[in-house]
């Protein structure tokens, strides 16, 4: 018999080896260092360039344009103007009400839906899930237009129905061009993504945490209050901060619904200052409002970092989970179903139907038997065969591809620096990749505009200026995805390649890139989808040479062409929904399979 020896079990593996101390000699300049440095420099230019420009222009007298060579026309007049106009305070207050209201609505609805779908016996949960997420394929611009068609005081569809029911005459009774309706429409536009974020973490939550509470004798409400919601807190706050930036930066709903009713928020204020209907743009005042908006967007982020810290935010996410116990709705079931399907009808079906209806009418008029006779697809033919549409479609595709390529390549390189390198520039890469997320799109748009008005790079007025601004903005989104992707690749896979004698370049080509391909592809599609839906940047950087679908829809709408707008909106919605389905299928596949 061999000697029996007791094993000291369990013995954990060595802790991960921490990065070595900074200040170590490196000796040679490797290709890796060059690429890292270049990446950081490009990011610095893309991210800090606009910010610097914004600051300069806010403190200058810009009546003669922004000046970047001495003598600088420094002045505090912009701030003086902004601070002394009572309009500023009205706009700020409106912005707070608008964003606060929309977020409150979106989160109340999303949490309810998330709970109904993930934790109750609501019938047809999967269908409900898909239909709550589906409006994501309808850009906010289009849903604003649809709601305007439904609820505008003169010939809004719902208003006409209400008037005929109550035998009323004149305008109204509902007016979508007012703050409460703007809040509601914006809120509904936020629901799909908010719902997705919350259900994702609810699904990832280890069910045994809730089961443990249940076996400890807690009631359903106690578990929800003491276990489920606290565990969801990081996800909820994260989504809240993200959606807050989405609300304050967007110009689509505030332009379509706010402008006719003279409801102005900060983003439209910036748009108006830099794109006045009459007279010269006032970039100085626009930039000053831009700084306001930037600060407004940064505050919740600081708040967020304080609450979340860097630990604990991923605690609830584990790989495998069992479906936790299902709450039976009992006699509340009909009410829950009424809520779910009622919301789906109002938020998705109704807007979609009105757009289709408007697109097959020669002009948008009252609903009557005559209107049914007027149904025609002539507008589709004329709109879709126009040169304007073809140009916009081509530009949209170029813009989407260029933006996605630019931001995803940058994101990959940055993520590698963040996750793997021992570079001293790591923290800087982290901050730079995160910043664009905090800079509202309307601010990036304005600042990019200012830069290329001055720099002798011939992109102003072309599609490329939009691509640069968008690429910058979506680096954050891309980095979020790729950082996770690289972190999931075991470091030893790279080390094994090195130990097999592979140079850095081989490690990337043969190991990292093939493994990251699914993540890259997924991110590419997501950015593509987001960029073709984006109206803010195409509108901020609009000129006749760089029309894309979203700006074409807005200009047609602004011009008063309801039918043309509706046709384009239907086509656009179809495109984004197809792209989204593609994304969903692609996202389902995993690496190495």
């Amino acid at each position: 018999m061999t000697t029996t020896i007791e094993r000291d079990d369990p013995v954990a593996a060595d802790p991960p080896v921490a990065p070595p101390s900074p200040g170590r000699r490196s000796g040679r300049i490797s290709a890796r260092t060059v690429i890292n440095t270049l990446t950081i420099l490009v990011l610095l230019y893309l991210v800090l360039g606009p910010l610097v420009m914004l600051g300069v222009s806010a403190f200058e007298d810009t009546s003669g344009g922004v000046v970047i060579t001495p003598p600088f026309p420094w002045t505090g007049a912009n701030f003086h103007t902004v601070f002394t106009t009572s309009e500023t305070y009205t706009v700020l207050w409106t912005t707070v009400l608008f964003s606060g209201g929309a977020l409150l609505f979106a989160f109340a609805v999303s949490l309810t839906f998330a709970w109904l779908v993930e934790r109750t016996d609501l019938p047809a949960r999967n269908t409900v899930f898909v239909l709550v997420v589906a409006p994501q394929g309808m850009p906010a611009l289009i849903s604003a237009i649809a709601w305007s068609l439904l609820l505008n005081p003169t010939n809004g569809f719902v208003n006409e129905v209400l008037r005929s029911v109550f035998h009323a005459s004149g305008d109204g009774p509902l007016n979508v061009y007012s703050l409460p309706w703007m809040i509601l429409v914006q809120g509904m536009a936020l629901v799909p993504l908010t719902f997705l974020l919350i259900t994702a973490s609810l699904r990832g939550m280890n069910a045994s945490l809730e089961d443990a509470a249940r076996t400890s004798g807690s009631s359903f409400w106690t578990i929800t209050r003491k276990v489920t919601l606290p565990l969801l807190k990081p996800a909820i706050i994260g989504a809240l901060v993200y959606e807050f930036v989405t609300v304050v930066e967007a110009v689509d709903i505030p332009l379509v619904l706010g402008l006719p009713g003279h409801v102005t928020v900060l983003s439209t204020q910036i748009y108006n200052a830099s794109h006045p209907p009459v007279g010269l743009p006032n970039y100085g005042v626009g930039s000053t409002y831009g700084i306001f908006l930037l600060v407004l967007a940064l505050v919740p982020l600081l708040f967020y970092n304080r609450i979340i810290g860097d630990s604990g935010s991923y605690v609830t996410v584990t790989g495998k989970t069992f479906r936790p116990k299902i709450q039976e709705l009992g006699r509340w079931k009909p009410w829950a179903m009424l809520f779910a399907w009622g919301y789906i009808f109002v938020s998705f079906v109704m807007p979609l139907l009105i757009l289709i209806w408007a697109s097959i009418q020669p002009y948008f008029g009252t609903l009557s038997r005559d209107a049914l006779k007027r149904v025609t697809v002539k507008s589709y033919k004329s709109t879709l065969s126009s040169d304007l549409f073809m140009t916009a479609l081509k530009n949209t595709l170029v813009l989407g591809l260029a933006t996605a390529a630019m931001s995803m390549i940058l994101a990959m390189l940055v993520s590698w620096i963040i996750v793997r390198s021992r570079s001293r520039l790591r923290w800087m890469a982290d901050v730079l990749a995160f910043l664009p997320h905090a800079i509202p799109g309307v601010v990036i748009g304005l600042a990019t505009l200012l830069i290329y008005l001055i720099l002798p790079i011939p992109v102003y007025g072309t599609i490329w200026i939009i691509a640069i601004a968008m690429g910058t903005q979506y680096v954050s989104l891309g980095t979020r995805l790729t950082t996770g992707g690289i972190a999931q690749i075991q470091r030893s896979l790279e080390e094994a390649a090195e130990a097999s004698g592979a140079k850095q370049r081989h490690v990337w080509r043969r190991v990292l890139i093939p493994l990251l391909r699914p993540v890259f592809f997924n991110g590419f599609l997501m950015v593509f989808l987001a960029s073709i839906q984006n109206l803010t940047l195409p509108l901020m950087l609009y000129s006749t040479g760089n029309l894309v679908l979203s700006s074409l829809i807005y200009t047609r709408w602004d011009y008063g062409d309801a039918t043309g707008t509706a046709v384009l909106s239907v086509v656009m919605t179809a495109i984004t929904i197809v792209a989204a389905i593609f994304l969903r299928n692609a996202g389902g596949r995993r690496a190495g399979e």
Binding site: I5, E6, R7, D8, A13, P15, A18, E498, G501, P514
Partner: protein, 387 residues
């Protein structure tokens, strides 16, 4: 000439402003074709040492020489891909997007160009070594843990490296497979004749596979020796406790019999006679380490010198033996009894402690040796008594 020479290797890193020393001026030599094991608990610096040899970690100071070439010194850092090594990782690091063949062929594509047939031959040869030839066309993700392990070994050997580095390669396998792989790995290493450095926290692996073992603790090498030396004559309580279960008894030397090379001791379990494995003088403080399998139990007194009366706390039948905890006064002894014994709790027994099986460890100060005991052993003892 030594195949690997490590001199004053030092590695410290910065952990939130605090300097942490992972490897503390460690020096050792490894002979050509030797199977050299770094053994120690987690966090002892053994993996960091191995990663420094691979070039995956850059040491703070020291010198590393491989096959007569300096690969690390204050003036020179040879990057990983130019070191003549093969490495097997704890999680195997098999590339999931490549087939078995592609995984093994990868190291051959990195250096000078080889023709397709040469590559094919060498890959098949390497797969043959690990009995994986028929799996060449499989996807790497379709392999079981044990197969991934072999694949990873084939990949490390395909370049015919001077040095093979193994980072806890068996720890992710289940017990049966681990036992089998121990033998295979050792056979293979002898067959291909490659200098091997093996990192493990498992003393069974270390004892059964190595030519020599370096036991590490807190960044230092505390003892180097053959498996027998390490097991039978540990120089410290740490080594005794880490390599196998051991009972420790404190004592004082009362007299020394130079001729018989035996000492008489006054210990916490009564007077003991022990062979003298270190030079001692009367009055010196010692710790006596006794392996569980060195002692015998009986209900009647034994013939011979060290015959100690004890009371049984618990006996756990483990198949080929019964693991007893017995106490003598306040001292706890762990004894491996024959499977035929059936002592029960509170039974009076006699423990036979042969003088040749006592290992004496010199104790400088009262209480100091106690602190040096590794913690996980203490935990094990506590768990066992409560069982």
């Amino acid at each position: 000439m030594a195949a690997i020479r490590v001199d004053q290797l030092h590695h410290c890193y910065d952990d939130r402003g605090r300097a942490v020393t992972a490897v503390d001026h460690v020096s050792f030599d490894v002979q050509e074709n030797e199977f050299y094991t770094l053994l120690g608990p987690s966090g002892c610096g053994k993996t960091t040492t191995l990663r420094c040899l691979a070039g995956l970690e850059v040491p703070t100071s020291g010198t590393i020489e491989m096959d007569g070439v300096v690969v690390f010194s204050s003036r020179r850092v040879v990057p990983t891909h130019r070191r003549d090594i093969g490495m097997v990782f704890q999680d195997y690091a098999v590339w999931p997007h490549m087939s078995v063949f592609e995984n093994v062929a990868f190291p051959l594509h990195t250096g000078k160009r080889l023709s397709g047939t040469v590559i094919k031959d060498r890959v098949h040869e390497a797969l043959e070594l690990v009995n994986m030839r028929e799996y060449a066309d499989r996807k790497a993700t379709q392999l079981s843990g044990g197969q991934q392990q072999r694949l990873s070994l084939a990949r490390a050997l395909v370049r015919q490296p001077k040095v093979l580095l193994l980072d806890e390669p068996l720890s992710n396998l289940d017990a049966k497979l681990r036992e089998q792989m121990r033998k295979e790995l050792r056979f293979l290493q002898r067959r291909v004749k490659v200098t091997t450095i093996f990192v493990t926290h498992d003393q069974v692996e270390a004892l059964s596979m190595s030519n020599r073992i370096a036991v590490m603790n807190k960044g230092l090498i505390v003892q180097v020796g053959t498996p027998r030396e390490i097991y039978q004559t540990p120089h410290s309580e740490f080594v005794a406790a880490f390599v196998g279960a051991t009972s420790f008894v404190q004592g004082t030397v009362t007299s020394v019999d130079v001729e018989a090379r035996q000492v008489s001791l006054d210990t916490t379990i009564g007077p003991l006679v022990s062979d003298m494995n270190i030079e001692l003088a009367p009055g010196e403080l010692v710790t006596i380490a006794i392996r569980p399998e060195a002692m015998r139990l009986s209900s009647d007194p034994f013939e011979g010198t060290n015959n100690i009366e004890a009371v049984v706390d618990i006996g756990l039948f483990v198949g080929d033996a019964v693991d007893y905890d017995v106490h003598v006064g306040d001292e706890l002894l762990r004894v491996k009894g024959s499977p035929h014994t059936r002592f029960r709790r509170r039974d009076k027994v006699f423990v036979d402690v042969p003088p040749s099986e006592c290992v004496l460890i010199r104790r400088a100060e009262e209480g100091e040796a106690e602190l040096a005991r590794p913690q996980d052993t203490l935990e094990t003892v506590m768990i066992d008594t409560s069982a």
